[in-house]
């Protein structure tokens, strides 16, 4: 297989010039560039990526550690990150952590001296007290998700409180006053469930409405459709009137909608339903689901951008490291059929 030296010989230039042309060095005469490219084409030369990585110390590969791709939210997030990365010529190595602590620790180890320039990490099993693990890492790292770890690490997160509050407000604006919550967790203290619940609380409080605990639908960590149906059933069975539902994710919402409809309740006429995440499913449910778009696309793009900037910083020695970023993606309600039009 042809090497750079072969191309250089063929184009009658030095190896360095070939390298310059191929890595986009600006100061190459057009005629020279053309000669080199012609030689490349003639020999069917393709650059040896591994040699370039080895010598330059940069692989152009970033790691992505997420719990599980089978979950639509993470699958779609991965798609976004892959496309953002690709638009900058970066490849992505995905490391599923399986919701386990060991998996997440392993993902943190991978990049060391490896073929990965940086890591985008969506933690699910690490807890606050693991913060220190993130401080001593010698590679660029961007954290995704709602939990705040070490303040010395860049975070790109979503507006959980605002999102849940907006979802609740949407129903309140339409005159709904008996709004159930689907997806309450017993165990968690700082994750998305409690933050989203806080948003719900704030919305009610702002209107002087008391939280009715009978409206709280509990689930376990697996926010699946069946749990949504079950929690919805529990709430309805308590006899409390319900005219709205805020579900902590879309799968729960779809399950809740099933339960409501199987009891003859009309959506949105009798009960309005709002989900969270804006996964593809919510566009295809019946009725289609109003949901909170947490800015997944934005999160992906910003995370990749921040990571790129950090990767850049470690290259030019002049650049002083900027302070850690805490970026909150723009949240947005996507109104579909499952909620009534606002009445003001």
């Amino acid at each position: 297989m042809a090497t750079m030296a072969d191309v250089a010989r063929h184009a009658d230039v030095s190896v360095k010039t070939v390298s310059n042309v191929l890595s986009g060095h600006p100061h190459v005469r057009d005629a020279t560039r053309d000669r080199v490219l012609a030689a490349v084409a003639a020999l069917g030369y393709e650059i040896n990526v591994t040699a370039r990585i080895f010598r330059s110390g940069r692989s152009g590969v970033v790691g992505l550690a997420v719990p599980e791709l089978g979950q639509p939210y993470f699958g779609e997030l991965a798609d976004e990150i892959l496309s953002a990365a690709r638009s900058h010529g970066l490849q992505v190595l995905i490391e599923p952590t399986g919701f386990t602590r060991e998996g997440e620790l392993a993902a943190l180890r991978v990049p060391r001296r490896g073929l990965v320039d940086g890591l985008i990490f969506s933690p699910a099993a690490l807890v606050q007290s693991d913060s220190h693990l993130l401080d001593s890492l010698d590679y660029p790292l961007v954290l995704l998700g709602e939990q705040m770890f070490s303040p010395s690490v860049d975070h790109v997160t979503m507006r959980n409180i605002d999102g849940a509050r907006a979802a609740t407000d949407l129903l309140l604006d339409a005159g709904r006053r008996h709004i159930a919550v689907i997806g309450m967790l017993h165990a968690e203290t700082a994750g998305s469930a409690s933050l989203r619940y806080t948003g719900y609380q704030q919305a009610l409080e702002a209107r002087g409405i008391e939280v009715d605990t009978r409206l709280l639908g509990w689930s376990d960590e697996a926010w699946h459709r069946a749990n949504g149906a079950r929690a919805m059933a529990d709430v309805l069975d308590s006899g409390v009137p319900v005219d709205g539902v805020v579900a902590f994710n879309d799968a729960l919402a779809i399950g809740a909608m099933y339960e409501l409809q199987s009891r003859g309740l009309a959506i949105p006429q009798d009960v309005g339903v709002v989900g969270f995440d804006d996964i593809e499913d919510s566009r295809y449910s019946v009725p289609t689901l109003t949901t909170v778009d947490p800015g997944r696309r934005e999160i992906a793009h910003v995370a990749v951008d921040i990571l790129r900037r950090r990767m850049q910083e470690r290259l030019d020695p002049g650049a002083t490291d900027r302070a850690p970023v805490l970026y909150l993606a723009g949240m947005r309600i996507v109104e579909r059929e499952s909620t009534p039009r606002r009445t003001g």
Copy 2:
């Protein structure tokens, strides 16, 4: 940062010996190995992966080209492949092709001289006439999915015909005689839709039952829930009696179930429903969905194994390339609540 030479000096051996120890070469005396490992620990040495890749020509990374991770089937497939690869110490670089021809062609180009040792490729946009593109590739390639391309390439596929036939038989065995099909495609000729339809046909034929075209529910390529509901509605609106449904994937089945239930039909008492793919959703739908498990897990593991074998073959020059493999994964019906018990 420490290099192998530092370790060698510290352990008082040659660089080669350190290399031997670190790459698991068997002929190293225990005492020597211990000394080397002690030196490694003392210096906090970690091997430079990129140098190793460069020199050895192997990266330990395999590519995975799938249309889209956001689709549960592919997300779950990717999880399986990642875990299979990881159990052999391989990393996976995912290349989403976005259901486009260009995306798929790009994915085929990536591994050339790159940091990927081989490719697992699930084509969705390439057609039969693109076969020749796959013949001239100079890296190990395993194709996934139902379509047969070049006979010179390894394929790991699912039993589409058998699966659909078994799904249909399940309903026939329970005495159902008016079985609708959800997911018929106008455009396609050799893909999973037509193969699955063939299975349906065969099952009816074996019992001497004519296909009633009013029972065929048409969709576009996007096998989403809403299309399932729509196709189901079309069939029901035609006035034909229906006591069973074979849907070409689980999302379609869930949509169909919604439509049936909203018309007051009980599942499985009035209508039995079978899906295809066994995605996580089918375990959480209401009722839970009987479906065809196409052997996704097996497909993933076998694909990785075949790829590893091919990667091995190109290393030891002695090995003659084995003939291309066509592997059909074991298909299996997963009976859940949406189908009646067989009456024999």
